[in-house]
Amino acid sequence: MSDPFSRLGGSTARRLSRLGALARFGFGALRSLGTLPAAGRAVALRVTLNQIRFTATDAIGLVVLLSGILSFLVISQAVRELGQLGATDFIGTLIVVAIVRELGPLITALTVAGRSGTAIAAELATNRVLGEVRALEAMGIDPRQYLVLPRFFGSLVSVFVLLVVFDIVAVSAGFAAARFNGMVAGRYVEIVLQALALKDVWLTVAKAVTFGVIVGIVPAYYGLAVRGAPTEIPIATSRATVTSIVGIFLCSALFVVIG
């Protein structure tokens, strides 16, 4: 029986190895963009647009709902509590830093990972199990170009678009909450604009891109990693979701450190 340190080392080595394989998979997929035939671009673009429809368009309602409720609740409470202390100026910081910069990207990415990441992993795993991936290769179609890249770019665009939607709705719902609790409209706009800095914008964009990459690549990796048994599909889906969520939280923490 191995000692705890050996087990810990083995487990860490396995995780690092998986991370390396994930990175190789991601770079390999991006590199395959260079060999995408001209005719294949139109096909890949159509698949990408379909992916954006499923991932972004169909998720707008959910994001609006989550963003609206979250922002309304937080700002309502903040106006009441901070109003008693005479510190309503901090509502601007709260909406910009807490909601737009931190919670916005996090909740948007988690929504896409939960809603579309699982679908991507399950779909690609099914493609694998049904022999569709092998058939694609035999037809001269690189599965990375036909299956992975469209989902990658679809997720990237979708996370960005949904984040913009989230932030617009969050600020609007915050405005409604502030007005509902007696704050003057001009005052709300003034403190939000005061709190907004260029750094918030680029940090939000950087997060959208990073989370988009995670949500686009991780499920595709786990989906295509199944070896052929249908029972592996739920396992791959579960692993993809858990890894995506952990990755999103770790990167979010990293952004706090570097930001």
């Binding site: 035939p37 569709e132 991936v133 599965p143």
Partner: protein, 260 residues
């Protein structure tokens, strides 16, 4: 004259992973002459390998090892080869006297169009209609205009007699319709060499004969017929007359030629 397909010393047991067949089977050496249909038959115990994927639980037996190694030289995902395509662990496979794996990627891509491949599970994409499945390799890999591609797809659908079901997705179509569409797709580029894996399972003798004729390219002048390698457990009796050579891999791993 070039040999469309030559397999030299390729172990039938795959690369030793689970499901790869016998470990003690003799390496396979086989040449498929131009314009001939060759059947390579053998049961699970013969070492040709066993079925993987969705048919694994249906008691089917499939000769995965050979097509894996033949078409595997064209694999895009070599590090995930358990279910995907892989290169032979030993020996060599040449297609038109060329080792495909040695070609630069762009040339390899062009080479693929000369080889049609019908996997045992059809490999039709479930989220596309049968028509779009047939069109996919043409749309992705040919420089033809959309109009020409549609024309070619229509021709293939008519030839495979699956026009009526062309708008259906694989899950909505019958097994025979799916197989017809898979044949149409494998032939979409009019390949010089066609590799068929368990192509006639669950089909009637008449449909099998019809599809084999479609694959061969019809009754034309000598030399015009397509080279075909059929791999499977058995060939329907009615089809034995329609192929030039039948080889059987015995349980001992030897390759025996049967009279046809």
């Amino acid at each position: 004259m070039t040999t469309p397909l030559a397999i030299e010393g390729v172990p039938l047991g795959g690369s030793g992973r689970e499901g790869g067949g016998r470990r003690d089977a003799a390496p396979l050496t086989l040449a498929v002459p131009a314009h001939e249909a060759v059947a390579l038959l053998g049961d699970e115990e013969s070492g040709l390998g066993q079925v993987e994927g969705p048919r694994a639980n249906q008691g089917g037996v499939l000769s995965q090892a050979v097509p894996r190694h033949v078409v595997g030289a064209m694999a895009f995902l070599p590090d995930q080869g358990e279910q995907g395509l892989e290169r032979p662990p030993a020996g060599r496979v040449t297609v038109f006297d060329t080792i495909i794996a040695d070609l630069p990627e762009r040339e390899r891509l062009a080479f693929r169009r000369r080889v049609g491949y019908l996997p045992a599970s059809d490999g039709l994409l479930q989220n596309l209609s049968l028509r779009n499945n047939v069109a996919l390799p043409l749309r992705f890999g040919s420089e033809a205009s959309p109009r020409d591609i549609e024309g070619r797809v229509n021709v293939m659908l008519v030839a495979a007699r699956v026009t009526g079901a062309a708008g259906l997705r694989p899950a909505q179509a019958s097994e025979e319709e799916c197989r017809r569409a898979a044949f149409a797709r494998a032939l979409a580029f009019d390949p010089a060499l066609l590799i068929l894996e368990q192509p006639f399972d669950a089909l009637t003798a008449r449909t099998s004969a019809e599809l084999l004729e479609l694959a061969r390219g019809g009754e034309t002048a000598e030399g015009a017929r397509r080279t075909i390698l059929i791999i499977g457990q058995e060939l329907p009796a009615g089809l034995l007359r329609r192929v030039e050579r039948v080889y059987r891999v015995t349980r001992a791993g030897a390759l025996e030629r049967e009279a046809v």
